[in-house]
Each structure stands twice: as C-alpha cells, then as structure tokens.
C-alpha cells in the first residue's frame, strides 16, 4: 500500500478540523468509517489520499434513537446494526432491508451508514482509472462505451448510477442529512444533499471539502407506515443494484397515501419517481394498480445503447415493491 498517515479523532468536529489541517499542509485527506472502499481506492490509485482521518474512535454517531415518532440514526452505525435494529426493522423496514442487501456480512460489519451513502460510484471506467468526470476529467466514457449498468434517468453529462441501497430508502422516508465541517454543522434535505451531474459531474453530493455526513434524521414515521426495499441484482448477492426500489406508503385500509417511490441503480442520485407517487395517491393496492405503477415508472426513462434491459426490470421491480405493500 502507498504511504499514508492515519489520524485518530474523537469527534466529528475534530475530524473536520483534522481534514482541513491536513489539506492546509498540502496533504490529501480522506475520512474513514469502515474503510473497505477507501482502502480499495487507495490500492487502485483512484483515490490519492495520504492522510486518513480515522473515525473509529469517534464516540458520537453510533446510536439509533427513536422518540416514538421520528428517528435519529448516527452516521457511524454499521450496516449490520441498521439491518438488525428492531425499531428500524419494524418502523422503517425499507431501510433495514436496504442495509441487509449491501455486500456481504464482512462488509456490513464494518461499513457505516454514512460511508454507504457517500461512497463514490462503481462505474467500471471510474474504478479502472479512466480520467472521467468523476476522476476530474471532462468526459464520460460510458456514453459511447460499455454502458450496460449506467443511468436510464437523470444522466448527462455523466451517466453513473448512485451506488447506495440505503440512500433511496432514506430519501423515501424524507430523511434530513446532518453534515459537520470545520466551521460547524448544518442540516440539508435529500434534494439539497444529492447532486445531479448536470449541476456538477465531478461529485455525487453537496458535501464540501472537509465536511462529512454525521447522521440522518427521519422527522416522523406514522403508525400506519409500511415500506419495502426490492433489489434486483445480476447475481444473488454481493453486488450493486441493477435496480432497487424503496417504497414507503401510509396504508389506510388497503389504500396508499403519501406514497414515496425512490429508485437505486438507475440514476446518478437516488431517483424519486413522482409520477408513480402521484398515481398511487388514494389507490387500492392490487395487482392491476401495481402493474400500472410499474409502467408509469419508466415513462421518463432514457436508456443508453446497452442498458435498455433496465426498463422492464425497473418496471417489474416497482410493480413487485408496490404489490408487496398490499394489506393482508
């Protein structure tokens, strides 16, 4: 492994300051929660950090708290903890299911909520050292290349897909993202947190230099809320979503209210399909409604040359996710 210096910190504020100090000294800092992806990037040379700000000794951000209505989930909660927490499994099963679908037990045992949400894209061009938008270059090689796993929504000028399973589930629950930097903390909505390539193709979120995601807040989950995360992969496990569907509804009898449908694996950010959300409003959930929801869900899709298979896949996944929330 390349030369690097590890810096242990005990708080998020100290982490942000350590990152800034390192940067001011001419180093390239990186935060490490679980570290699995970071180390891979360092070994591959796709990340040139030489100061690692180690968050293992940070005491905050490790709990899942509920006040009976809302939730606060620390950014350093592991994916294993998120997947197995009884209050999350009961109240926000889409989040627990999404966390459980990530990688392998070994990855989930160290991987954190914040790391999962802020991981860099897994586009094979970016990960193999191509000087693309994500690496600071000025083109997206997938556009005229191997784009079978790339975006069918929201692409251009970069066509990466956002790699997180957990993020769409958080967006579907209207999560507020908590951010700490060297000069203080702030809260941002999902709309402000995730950044489309049309706005800035070099980044996936609005974290500034030396800022880190410290946790999320779910303001309110009503008692009649039901949710699911339905993930389609090209093998049974240990890979990213071809498409994932996080669906949250408030179930009134068998009618869907306040539906949220957010997709993974098909867009550069967690992708809300508002047309489906609007369609579901007040509808009784049954096979016909679910099928129509799936059809509506791909109306705005724009496939590239080799990823049109994602259209029927997305349609079917939305259908399955919605139907699974039918009462009874």
């Amino acid at each position: 492994m390349k030369t690097l210096t590890n810096v242990n910190v005990t708080s998020f504020g100290e982490a942000a300051s350590a990152s800034r100090t390192a940067r001011q000294q001419g180093s390239v800092p990186a935060f490490s929660g679980g570290g699995s992806d970071l180390l891979q990037q360092l070994k591959d040379g796709t990340d040139n950090a030489d100061v690692i700000v180690n968050l293992r000794s940070v005491a905050d951000g490790r709990t899942i708290q509920s006040d009976g209505s809302g939730f606060a989930i620390g950014g350093l909660v592991t994916l294993t903890e998120l997947a197995e927490d009884p209050s999350v499994m009961t109240g926000m099963s889409a989040i627990a299911q999404a966390a459980a679908s990530v990688g392998t037990p070994q990855i989930r045992n160290v991987g954190t909520l914040a790391g999962n949400v802020t991981q860099r894209p897994w586009c094979w061009y970016y990960r193999n050292g191509f000087n693309c938008f994500k690496a600071g270059g000025d083109e997206c090689f997938s556009l005229n290349g191997e784009n079978g796993q790339h975006a069918i929504f929201g692409g251009g000028p970069s066509f990466i897909v956002h790699p997180s399973d957990v993020a769409p589930a958080l967006v579907a629950f209207d999560a507020i993202f908590q951010v700490t930097g060297p000069t203080g903390s702030r809260e941002v909505s999902a709309e402000e947190f995730f950044v489309l390539p049309a706005t800035d193709p070099s980044r996936e979120n609005s974290l500034n230099e030396d800022e880190l995601l410290t946790g999320v807040r779910i303001p309110s989950v009503s008692a009649n809320t039901v949710s699911t995360y339905y993930k389609v992969m090209d093998r049974e496990a240990w890979t990213h979503a071809e498409v994932g569907v996080a669906t949250v509804i408030q179930r009134d009898g068998n009618a869907a209210q306040n539906a949220k449908v957010v997709l993974a694996g098909v867009a550069p950010i967690p992708w809300r399909v508002r047309a489906v959300e609007d369609f579901l409003a007040g509808k009784q959930i049954n096979a016909a409604v679910a099928r129509e929801a799936g059809e509506i869900g791909i109306e705005d899709a724009l496939p590239l040359s080799k990823n049109a298979h994602k259209l029927p896949m997305t349609s079917a996944a939305i259908e399955a996710a919605v139907l699974s929330l039918a009462a009874g």
């Binding site: 100090t21 570290g35 045992n109």
Partner: protein, 226 residues
C-alpha cells in the same frame, strides 16, 4: 507458528540504525525493526527539526519523507494473546497478521474485499483483514484460523471440514472457517440456507460450496461450537 520470537513485543526489539524500512513482504526477512520515532530520534537535529507535528498530530510532509510511512504503536489481542506492536499506518491487518506475527493461516486473495480469504474475527465479527488498516484495529480482539484449535485438537467446524472434504485447494478454507465459526457462535445449529447466507462473503474458486455448507451444517448438528 514458525518463529516464536516474532510473536514478541516489536517495540522491545533491538534496533539497528542501518536497517531501512521495507515493505511488509520484506519484513519477514528482517528480524530487526525500527520505528519512525527511533529513526528520527537517532538521526540528528537536522532531521528531527523537520519533523513538525501539527496540533492534530499529523506529521508534516518532511517528517514522512524521512521514512517511508508513519508508524503507530497499537495493542492487539490475537488469539487470546495481547500483542504490542509498532505498525506502519499503511499496513493492513492481514499484512500485520501474516508478516509481523507470522500467522500465515490468514490468506490474502483479492486484497480488495471481493473474495473473503482474509476473513478474521474482529471483536467476534467476521471482517476482511485485507480491508482494514492495522491501526484501525487498535484495542481489538482478533481471532484467526490459528486460534481455532485447542491444545492441538481441531475445533468442531474444522473437524467437520475434514469429514466433508470442505477444502479442495484450501486457499479459501481459513476464511470460510472463521465466518462459519462466527455463525455457529450466534446460531449453534444453522440450516443450510442460513449457512449459505452467512458464508456469502467467502468465495471458493474450486466451487466446493456444497461440501462447505454441508460441513458447517454438520458442525452445528454435532453441537459444534468452535
């Protein structure tokens, strides 16, 4: 363990000023080690003056360039024995286990969280040792495949692997054993489905999955705690 000496406290070892840092792969040949701190302390004022440490303990670029990489003193409890080690910050846990502690049962396959050969238990949970820096494991309890047998007697899951021809080439076996051991500690009698789910992060290039799953199920049926 091939060389008991290497299990000892590296901090206490005699330092030879002539020995330069080498890559972990070379360390196995170099019994005599030297920490960055020792190097700086022994190299005269000119170098020491350059070793500025910031308020956050970040060594300056000069300090780093005086040697190949920063080092940190850590404590690891490995297979029940507490180890005090001075490790380079860039060394992975797998490298430290293999090259510093001679625990070569832990294999490095893909070296990128994609095969599972390096799986060890960290505070009881399976993790990929190739994808953890050793400094991050400071204070942790680590269990490797060398820690499964008791007084030379194989653990139940090891015996079950033997009985079911669990290993073919054997390279993935230590990792499979560690993940299976963690499973049996929380679920002493898993079904084959539960075993498949738990072992999904351990690839077998020989594709000997059926035998591996059968072995773990048998270890459970035999009341097998590892």
């Amino acid at each position: 363990m091939r060389d008991k000496k290497k299990q000892g406290n590296l901090l206490d070892k005699g330092n030879d000023p002539a020995v330069k840092y080498a890559d972990p792969k070379d360390q196995i040949l170099n019994d005599k080690q030297q920490s960055r701190r020792d190097f700086l302390e022994g190299s005269g004022a000119a170098v020491a003056a350059g070793a500025g440490i910031s308020a956050f303990g970040i060594p300056s670029a000069k300090a780093q360039s005086a040697n190949s990489s920063a080092t940190t003193a850590i404590n690891l409890t490995v297979n029940g024995t507490r180890q005090m080690l001075e490790v380079q910050d860039r060394w992975t846990l797998a490298e430290v286990l293999r090259d510093q502690l001679d625990l070569t049962g832990t294999k490095i396959g893909c070296n990128r969280s994609e095969c599972g050969a390096c799986t060890v238990l960290m505070n009881g949970q399976p993790v990929y040792a190739c994808s953890q820096l050793a400094v991050w494991a400071d204070g942790a309890e680590i269990r490797t495949v060398e820690g499964l047998a008791t007084n030379g007697e194989l653990s139940p899951v090891q015996r079950a692997f033997v009985a079911n021809n669990g290993p073919q080439c054997g390279f993935c076996t230590p990792g499979q054993l560690m993940t299976a051991t963690a499973l049996l500690q929380t679920n002493p009698s898993p079904s084959s489905e539960e075993v498949k789910e738990a072992l999904v992060g351990n690839l077998c290039r020989c594709s000997n999955y059926n035998a591996i799953v059968e072995a773990v199920v048998m270890a459970g049926e035999e009341g097998g705690l590892a």
